[in-house]
Symmetry: C3
Amino acid sequence: MNYPLNQIPERTEKPRQKGLTMVMDKGLSLRQVEDFLELGSGYTDIVKLGWATSFVTPNLKDKLALYKSAGIPVYFGGTLFEAFVVRGQFDEYRRVLDQYGMEYAEVSDGSLEMEQDDKCGYIQTLAKQVTVLSEVGSKDEAKIIPPYKWIKLMKAELEAGAWKVIGEAREGGNVGLFRASGEVRQGLVEEILTEIPEEKIIWEAPQKSQQVWFVKLVGANVNVGNIAPHEVISLETIRLGLRGDTFSHFLDKK
Amino acid sequence: MNYPLNQIPERTEKPRQKGLTMVMDKGLSLRQVEDFLELGSGYTDIVKLGWATSFVTPNLKDKLALYKSAGIPVYFGGTLFEAFVVRGQFDEYRRVLDQYGMEYAEVSDGSLEMEQDDKCGYIQTLAKQVTVLSEVGSKDEAKIIPPYKWIKLMKAELEAGAWKVIGEAREGGNVGLFRASGEVRQGLVEEILTEIPEEKIIWEAPQKSQQVWFVKLVGANVNVGNIAPHEVISLETIRLGLRGDTFSHFLDKK
Amino acid sequence: MNYPLNQIPERTEKPRQKGLTMVMDKGLSLRQVEDFLELGSGYTDIVKLGWATSFVTPNLKDKLALYKSAGIPVYFGGTLFEAFVVRGQFDEYRRVLDQYGMEYAEVSDGSLEMEQDDKCGYIQTLAKQVTVLSEVGSKDEAKIIPPYKWIKLMKAELEAGAWKVIGEAREGGNVGLFRASGEVRQGLVEEILTEIPEEKIIWEAPQKSQQVWFVKLVGANVNVGNIAPHEVISLETIRLGLRGDTFSHFLDKK
C-alpha cells in the first residue's frame, strides 16, 4: 500500500479462499486486458468471460494466454454451459474446455429448467476434468426461489463437487440475490449464511451499494463477483474502509 | 465462431443491408478505436461520431483514417448538421464533408423545428454528394409524434433519397422510440413496420432491454444503432440467442 | 476547433480561473491516462484521484509523473485526507503530500464530523504547503445542510486560504448539491451564487443533466467537477451549445 495508514483491515493474500474478487470480462481487447492487469491483477482472483461472449470474441486464445501469464484463472460464463446442454451437446462442451485448456468451469441453470439431480450430475462429471463453480438462482426476475431451497441447492452442489457456489445477480445486479431495484434480499442472504460457510459462496454484487452491503455484513474478506474490470480498485477501497460508504466501519469505536 | 454450437441463427455478412450494427463513438482515443476494431470490426457496419463531438475532437483526421483503413464507414451525428443549418451555414457544412472526405451524412431535426419539405430538400441535395441517413424523432421528450406521422416522414425521406431512416432514441435511449423510462413505444414500432420495410430502418437502441426487444420482434438481423463500442460483443450474443434474455428465442420448439 | 461554426460561446483558455473542468480518475491505467490526455488535456484543468483510490493504486508514482508531464495538476480525494485525520495521522498526511510532490490538496468532511474551526485550521496549515481545495457537503444523503450554512462554510473556508470551494455530489451525483434522484437542489445553488463568486466554486456534476443545468444557469465557463474521463468531450459540447440539451441556449434570439 502506498501510505502508512493505521487501522486498515487485514486482507487475505493470493491464492485466496476467502476475500475473492471475481471479475467479469464481457469483451475486453487484449490491450484492455493488459490495462486491467496493471491495476487489478493483485486484487483479482478469478475472471469470468461473461455468459457466452467467448463464442463471438475474435481474440479468445490470445486473451486466455494473457490471463494465464498473469496467473489468473479464467472460466466461461454458465450461459455457455447451458447453451451446449440445451442443444444436447454437453460432450462437445467438455471437448471445448479441453481444447482451450480451461481449468475452471461454471455449471448453472439460470436460463433453462434443470432437475437438481441432473445439475449435480453435470457437476460430478465436470469436477473430474476441471474445478467447478456452480451457480444458484434464476436470471428470470419473476422466479423467486425461497431461502430454504437456495440452501438445499447450495449444499447439494457443494457435495456434488463444486469448489464454490455463486449467488446469481446477472451483470445488472437485479435478479436472484437482489430485487429488480438492485436492493439486496437481506433475509435470504442472512439465512443462507446460517447454513453455508461464507468462504464457500461467491456473491455476485455488480453494484457499489451491493458490494458495500456485503462488506458490512461479512467483512473485508467477503467473496464477491461480477465486478466490472474498472471497478476493482473501487471495490478494494470499499473492503478497506477507504471509501465514504465503509469509512467508519472498520475504525475502533471509542 | 469459436465453438461448434448448433441452432445458431444465421447472420448476414458484411456489407450488410440487414442486420446492421451502428456504433456511436462519442470521443474515443485512437488507441481505443484500435481496441474497439480488434473486437468489433466484424460486427460493426457503420460508426457515428456522436452529435457534434467531432467539432472538439483533437484527433479527428487520424480517427477518420483509422476507421477507413478498417473499411468501416463513418458519419457525423445529425446534431452537427443541425448546428450548421440553424446558423445558416449549410453550404459550409457541405464543404466540411468534402474536406474530411466523408461518404455518409445524417440529416435530422431532433433539436430544431424544420418543415418536412425543407428536410427533404436537404436530403435531396446531400444525396448528390454522400449516402444519406435521415433521422426521425425529436430529442425533446415532451414532443410526441403520432405513429401515422412517423410513417409519413419516413416514407417522404426515403423517397427524397435517404439510404436508411433512423428512429431517434439519443445516447440514453429515453426519447423518440422510447418513453422516458426507456420502455419501448411498442405500438409505434409495430405500426411503422406495417408500412416501412424493416431493412430500411435503423432503430436506435442503446439499452440492453431495448436491443432484446427488437431482436425478439424483428429477428437476429434487425438493424440497431447508438450501440456503445464496448457493448458490440454483448449485442452480438443477444442476436444469436447466447445471452439469457434471448436464450430460448431461437431454439427449436419441440 | 475543427469547423468554422458561428455563434459558439467563447471559452476561457488554460490556465483557467473560470470554466474549469475537474476530472475524476478512479483507477485508470497508465495507458488509459495517455488515452484520456490525447483527447482531454486541452479541456481538463485539474484531476482528482477519487477518494482514497491512490492508497491501492499500483502505478501511483508513474501516474503522477504522467499527469505532470501533461501540465495537469493532480490531487488526492478528500476522503484520503479524512482517513488520515480520523486516525490522528494528519502530520503523516502532510509528509505523504511532500513525498509524492503534490502541489494541491483537498480538505473535506464528507465522511466524518468536524468542527468548522478545526476544518479551517487544517486549511490554514495545508495552505502553507500546497494549493487547497476545500469541499462543503456531506456524503450522507440524510444530512441536509441548509443554504445559509453552505454559504457560511464556504466563506469561512475561502477566508482560511482555500483556492476554490467544491460543492459535494460524490461520484454518483446523488448527495449534497443533489437529491437522491440526481435532481439539482436549485434553490440552494441559486442562493449560494448570491453570496459566493461563481469563479470560486467548483460544482461536482457527474451526471449529464446536472452539467446541462449548470451550463444553462452560469454559462459556458462554469466550473464543474467529478467529470468521468470519457465524458470530457461530451461536457465540452454541452458548454458550447453543440449537444441537443444546450443546442438553442447560446444562439442569438431573433
